[in-house]
């Protein structure tokens, strides 16, 4: 092979790859509107993106899998912890992660910024991205969720536990928050009645309790169900 042939290899290789790449970029630009739901890309979502960048959340958390690997991916965070869950964690990280061995900084975000962030996460969570990340895939339920769903069939209390914010602070099967204790074995130490009492008004049982009272959060029936469900976790 001569140097001249080598030069042509270089030129043709580069140009063909660049041509394919630029064509695909053009086509991607055309399709992104639909794939990312640009019609829902409101000013609030954009403000949320600005807040996300302003506080450099992305150098601890990945989103769509890019960024720092130090903290949970936020692509589907709304689906995972809910809007209130996000609000609580961002407002009071020093409380939400008090018992975790890894901390998130208190960055004193305003309520407005947090609402914008939630709008942003909600929008990102609906991007059609080939069902990544696997742990939040609705098609492929995680092991933790499978156990939860299996028990929802037995007891609607599991559903209460999942949807009424208990998981912001408590975990089951390794999924959930760390502000409160993991409740996998709670049935071994507390009866359904004791749990019901505790959840209604923690301070009445333990004056030093940090758990907020749940009597306004839950209906009487939900309280019964969640207490029965937890007392079965042994």
């Amino acid at each position: 092979m001569s140097k001249k042939t080598a030069f042509w290899i270089f030129l043709i290789g580069t140009l063909s790859s660049a041509a394919l790449f630029l064509w695909a970029t053009y086509d991607t630009q055309r399709q992104i509107a639909a794939l990312s739901h640009v019609d829902k890309l409101s000013d609030e979502v954009v403000a949320g993106k600005r807040a996300f960048q302003k506080h450099n959340c992305n150098d601890c958390h990945t989103i769509l899998g890019f960024g720092g690997y130090y903290a949970p991916d936020l692509t589907r965070v709304v689906q995972r912890v809910g809007e209130d869950g996000i609000r609580f964690r961002v407002q009071h990280p020093e409380r939400a992660f008090a018992n975790s061995w890894r901390k998130m900084p208190q960055q004193n975000l305003s309520d407005g910024e947090i609402s914008d962030l939630i709008a942003f996460f909600t929008w990102v969570g609906n991007v059609n991205n080939n069902d990544w990340p696997p742990q939040d895939s609705r098609k492929r339920l995680s092991r933790g969720e499978q156990m939860m769903v299996a028990s929802v069939g037995v007891s609607p209390g599991a559903a209460v536990f999942q949807t009424k914010g208990c998981m912001n602070c408590h975990s089951l099967h390794g999924t959930g928050g760390t502000f409160g204790p993991a409740l996998d074995k709670i049935g071994a130490s507390l009866s359904a009645e004791e749990i019901r009492k505790y959840v209604t008004d923690p301070k009445a049982v333990n004056p030093k309790a940090m758990m907020p009272p749940q009597k306004d959060n839950l209906t009487g029936r939900e309280l019964e169900e969640v207490a029965r469900f937890l007392s079965a976790q042994k």
């Binding site: 270089f10 794939l35 150098d59 989103i63």
Partner: protein
Amino acid sequence: MEYRSQKVAYWYFAAALPLFVLQIFLGLYLAFSYTFTVPQAVVDVFPFATARAMHTNLLVLWMLLGFMGGTYYIVPEETGSEIYSEKLAFLQLFALLAIGVTALAGFFLGWTKGRPLLEIPPPLNYFVVAGALLFLFNVGMTMVRASRWTATQGTLLGGLVFLALLYLFGIPFYRNEVVDWYYWWWVIHLWVEGAWELVTASIFAFVLMNLTGVDRQVVEKWLYVEIGLFLFTGIAGTGHHYYWIGAPRYWLWIGGIFSALEPLPIVLMLVDTMNHIKERKNPIVNRLTWTYAVGCAVMHFIGAGVWGFLHTLPQINYYTHGSQVTASHGHLAFFGAYALLNLMTFYYAMPRLKGIREYDDTRGKYGFWIMTSAMMLMGLTFGVAGVLQSYIERVLGLGFMTAQSYMRLWMGATFFLGLVFLSGVLTTVTDLLTIRPKARA
């Protein structure tokens, strides 16, 4: 050293080395935060996020200073002329250092664009662009005035212009997060798997040609084939970052196929280096410089070629994406391809710039072997942590922090290996800054 103006290169290298040391201290803080609990009060003031921005920006800054110094060293010899303006070269060095220091102080105070790896905020970015233009102008004018074109020179200039152009895509604010990541990769991927490879390939060709005395026509012929393959596989290979961002599904095919071919030019570079060394016409003086050349070719192949290939197919990347597997690859690849390349250039040029023909390489050898073995092991410990994470968090679907608790041991090992790595870096940097002639026996 044949030309007076090559001397500026020395100052670029001398500025790059302390920044390399600083980068490692921040890396240690990151690994420490993975292993031990940093108290809330410290996290509030100096969070992981800030340290990560500093770690990665310092990395890019010292490597770019190294490339620029390398360019100022090579261009006079390749063109057979002095640099267009030495003053401009110094001005540009001070400007870049000032921008760098401002950026780091800014990160600490919360002044950031908040995009990973591209945290430098817009007003400062205009200065970065001005600095880059000064540099390209100075180098371009030198080449145009001398008008003695070679493939090595052309590749170098082409790579540098490409590098500067790509940076522009990282500057705007994009409203759409998907579009934002799409163009973020035009900077990150097309840099490390495109423009930087061109710069590296030409610097490497220059050093090999001069070390081994192998004929320019042979070296440059292979240079064309290498950069052709780099760009053929690397440009469309950008698609391996578009699998999960909300881009069309055909990127799984384009990205998967082209990026799976990306190791080819790297293998070629390795084979090529070995051949040139075997067919050398010059005796081996300054063995350490040769060790760096071979070490760079081998580690480039392992870190970028092998480690990159391992997680580039969509079926695997679905589980490893954005995990410590990525960090493992990022470290091995950056170290192998670009840290060792820069250090090789420093070991080639710095003694010559001081008029030392044969340097004493006893300390330097320790430096090389400590750094390289520690980094290889760190690649493995990051890697084990990453595989655990992919399995526990992504396959089993257990919580993020549950997975982290299993990874903790391995991140701790990374931290301790990082201390070893630091000792290697300190040895190397001291050696380079105080390099002395070999004592005649």
